[in-house]
Symmetry: C2
Subunit: 196 residues, 2 copies
DNA sequence: AGCCTTTAGCTAATCACGTTAGCTTCAGTG
DNA sequence: CACTGAAGCTAACGTGATTAGCTAAAGGCT
């Protein structure tokens, strides 16, 4: 076997770090090669294309996000689990905006794409968290989608610099979590009459 | 003055239509030129660069979105205004996913960028709608951000094909609107103790 | 009506990437 | 100590954005 300086994994890791610095849109093979102290074409010994590289970053990101959220929810339930999970996700996106963008930009390449189970693990964590609210079974899917929407929306708006006014974004986020929490608790108490 | 077949405005309009068809990421000067029955370099007589073209699409999109939302809210208040505004926005995004992506991808180029007032008009509509809920003044900014987050998050997730499970997405959206409506009404009734 | 200026659109050329082809060299194996 | 295989390199190609310079037609002016 030869030198073995770079590997697909190490290249992906470096690309993920790069993308968090310069933004997902500014990822280029040349820039990555420079960071790795190598000439551009050499990268193709480890990844087949820039598209594949982006996809690898996406899988990495979704997996990391799944871990972070699962760990945050671990051992908590109800409001605590919601707050911890949501904060964990926001923190992850703030620390890894490029990775998060990569994960959002990708689409499963096929039925056995590892991106699929990685995504399912994230959803499973949210589902586990929601189960603590005793919602009507028919409402769970809607609650899940609403939850995903707020968290994803807040994270992307924040990452895009969408919150201009000089009111604390942290405060807005805890307000948001509280808002969702109250709604979920009320919905559970009220039963299915929330849905129209 | 010469022929005047194309104008900056007509090029932008064609680009916006194109982007809704092929996706914002797939916008290319060559493809647009082909649609307009012109050679690629000719486009530079009307727009200075692809970046500027993308920005023009963004301004157009944000302006259109502002109009659509304002019109929907017109004459309604409270729950009705929320539902109408939210539905109008979702419809706009579904019909113009490329434009919406362009608007999200852009960043103001300066203090006199028309994108800024266009964005402010959207925010003003949401603010007008929220004013119907009699929220505590200190809460309004958080409610606004939460509202923007859910709507933006839902729209982008839907556009990205993020809702896989075969439960009606329409139904989820009305559930979401209802969820927000109930929360806002409860928050108004309860006063500032929602915020922590 | 006929000239003149202005400029839309064209062709040819340049530049920046992503990607491919083929060569070279070193690490580990026999 | 030669041998093989893959890492990394240089050279080359293709595509898409952009620029330079030419051509010609439209509208104004006399």
């Amino acid at each position: 076997m030869p030198k073995a300086r770079l590997t697909p994994a190490s290249v992906t890791e470096a690309a993920a770090a790069l993308v968090d610095e310069v933004g997902f849109d500014n990822l280029s093979m040349g820039l990555l090669a420079e960071r790795l102290g190598v000439k551009t074409p050499s990268l193709y010994k480890h990844v087949t294309s820039q598209a594949e590289l982006a996809h690898r970053i996406a899988v990495l990101a979704r997996t990391e996000a799944g871990d972070v959220i699962r760990d945050a929810i671990q051992g908590r339930s109800g409001s605590d689990a919601l707050a911890a999970g949501a904060q964990a996700m926001r923190t992850y996106v703030r620390e890894h905006p490029g990775r998060y963008a990569a994960a959002n930009a990708t689409r499963p390449t096929g039925p056995d794409d590892p991106f699929i189970p990685a995504s399912e693990r994230v959803l499973a964590s949210w589902a586990a968290m929601l189960s603590g609210y005793d919602l009507d079974p028919g409402q769970e899917i809607h609650a899940m989608r609403t939850l995903r929407s707020v968290l994803h929306g807040f994270a992307t708006l924040e990452a895009a610099g969408g919150f201009q006014i000089d009111a604390s974004v942290d405060e807005s986020f805890t307000w948001l979590i509280n808002f969702i929490d109250q709604g979920l608790r009320a919905g559970a108490a009220r039963g299915s009459d929330v849905a129209r």
